[in-house]
Amino acid sequence: MARTITIDPVTRIEGHAKITIQLNDEGMVEDARFHVTQYRGFEKLCEGRPFSEMPSLMARTCGICPVSHLLASSKACDALLAVRVPRTGQLLRRVLNLGQIVQSHALSFFHLSSPDFLLGMDAPPEKRNLFALVETHPTIARDGIALRKFGQQVIERLAGKRIHPAWCVPGGVSDPLDAESRDAILAEIPHAMAIATRTLEWYQKTFRQFAEEIATFANFPSLFMGLVDEDGNLEFTDGKVRVVDSAGNIIADQLDIADYQDFIGEAVEPYSYLKSPYYKPLGYPDGIYRVGPLARLNIADRCNTPRADEAWAEFRELDRRVVLSSFHYHYARLIEIIACLEQMEKILRDPDILDTHVRAHAEPNAFEGVGVSEAPRGMLIHHYRIDRNGLITWANLIIATGHNNLAMNRGVLQAAKHFVRGEKIEEGMLNRVEAVIRCYDPCLSCSTHAIGQMPLEVELMGPRGEILDRVRRD
């Protein structure tokens, strides 16, 4: 008899979601889906608001990556103003974004995912959480806290507060950087770099023990999409769009984000509130692509900073063309932290970084604007239309997690087919299906989920929806 296994909620991600696994009459996995069960509606609630409010309003989309929304929104507003942001304003926005990526990657790697690596995928939740990690691996736990704190302090020093800062504005940033803040950040970079370096070295020695997970955690051909600079280097804040196929071929390059609707389609599935974007030239769902750390390292020709380039070259040796396993998102995050720290130091030593001309002022000069930045989890697009009074008439957001939606679904199915066996539901089996999603570090909202404390409910359902069995973990 066909059955459905439901994992609800998925834990240690940002937001509300569940996974269902459909078994066939033989008890084998037939289908699996990742459902986003929460609805936010930010595109609708901002209609009628002045465009100048958008950066602050959109930053409220999330408590983990408000800076990413702030940046993408400000850049969409730059397009409405049709202004060129002063160079120092651009540089300061970059530093803000780099700090954001460092703190977010540290949260994902150390707090959310390292319990899986260090305490075992088969360990019960009460023994596979950060408190257990604190007891068994205090140095790792301290490093995670220190690195996240570093990134948060960069944001605070630039923008005045860690969560929902309003410093990034249409036309640039509201205030210049002072020498004291610059020097304080520069003084902390060596410590952050030491943490990032030793963590990467440790991870490079240990990740191969997860060969089965590497082989089965969303390890499939897909496109990869993200931003690169004009020379093809790793890019987090500006740049143009590049698309690479699973053989490593660049199939589109230097695409202007203003034209995103020409190459990105947005499908909607009835089982999820999360959109399913796809690469338009290949259609739906063949146009499946991935964004985020793994994609960025796959599409770039180099990182363009020495330490990150060294690590990147070793990373790319994992596969002959591009790295396909989503398990390597974790690895990619560590390399990106190093790249961010190197880029940050370089920018902060720029002679113009303390310049006070950081914002361009103008009235709206266009009725439509698109902004893009690389959020920690991948490319983030904000698209606004305004009326003659500067009020928002229409908005569209494509967040990184949305870009990855098709890939997450396919990854869940792949892992479920490999790890889920018939009628017996084991903890480690479900942990791995969940952990596939965690590779992508999906950010569904600013909601917080807990480890162990949050219930994990597994339901076996008959073909008419009747519950045949239920396993609950409190």
């Binding site: 959480n129 604190v134 007891e135 995670g144 806290i145 917080t448």
Partner: protein, 152 residues
């Protein structure tokens, strides 16, 4: 003179949930020459463990939806076994978990008091309800007296 950290947390855009911020800032202004620092934030985060371990006394101030509106509860948090009632975090922790992190990772916890004030209205407003306001005033007076006792 001991170093004191005053931490007010909650969401000031949600009415009485912001009472921790209000009490923390008001209390800080009345601490005079004491070696006091104040922080206001939406939630307790793991990074605070490092900060907390640098102080001798800490006061954590939060709103409560569970206790009667306007009521004030102050209790000292002792060194206890790790607890995960607020969730073994993704990006936030509870007061006891924060203390556990400070003790385990940094080898020191300050003498810590948790002050909770019952709220009545957690809707979309930046104003405190009259009962939360009354509770806030009582909390400020009591905490001021408490700090006078433990600061030296």
């Amino acid at each position: 003179m001991k170093r004191i950290l005053i931490l007010g947390f909650g969401n000031p855009l949600r009415g009485d949930d912001g009472v921790g911020w209000y009490v923390a800032t008001q209390l800080f202004e009345r601490t005079g020459a004491w070696r006091c620092d104040v922080r206001t934030l939406h939630q307790l985060v793991p990074e605070l463990a490092d900060d907390l371990a640098r102080y001798e006394v800490a006061v954590l101030i939060d709103a409560s939806a569970d206790q009667p509106a306007g009521s004030v509860r102050i209790r000292e948090l002792g060194a206890e076994a790790p607890r995960t009632e607020e969730g073994a975090f993704s990006h936030h922790v509870g007061p006891r978990e924060l203390l556990t992190l400070a003790a385990t990772l940094y080898g020191h916890t300050p003498r810590t008091f948790l002050c909770t004030i019952g709220g009545a209205d957690f809707g979309f407003t930046e104003q405190l309800s009259p009962s939360a306001q009354a509770g806030a005033q009582q909390a400020i007076r009591t905490l001021q007296a408490l700090l006078a006792l433990v600061a030296n």
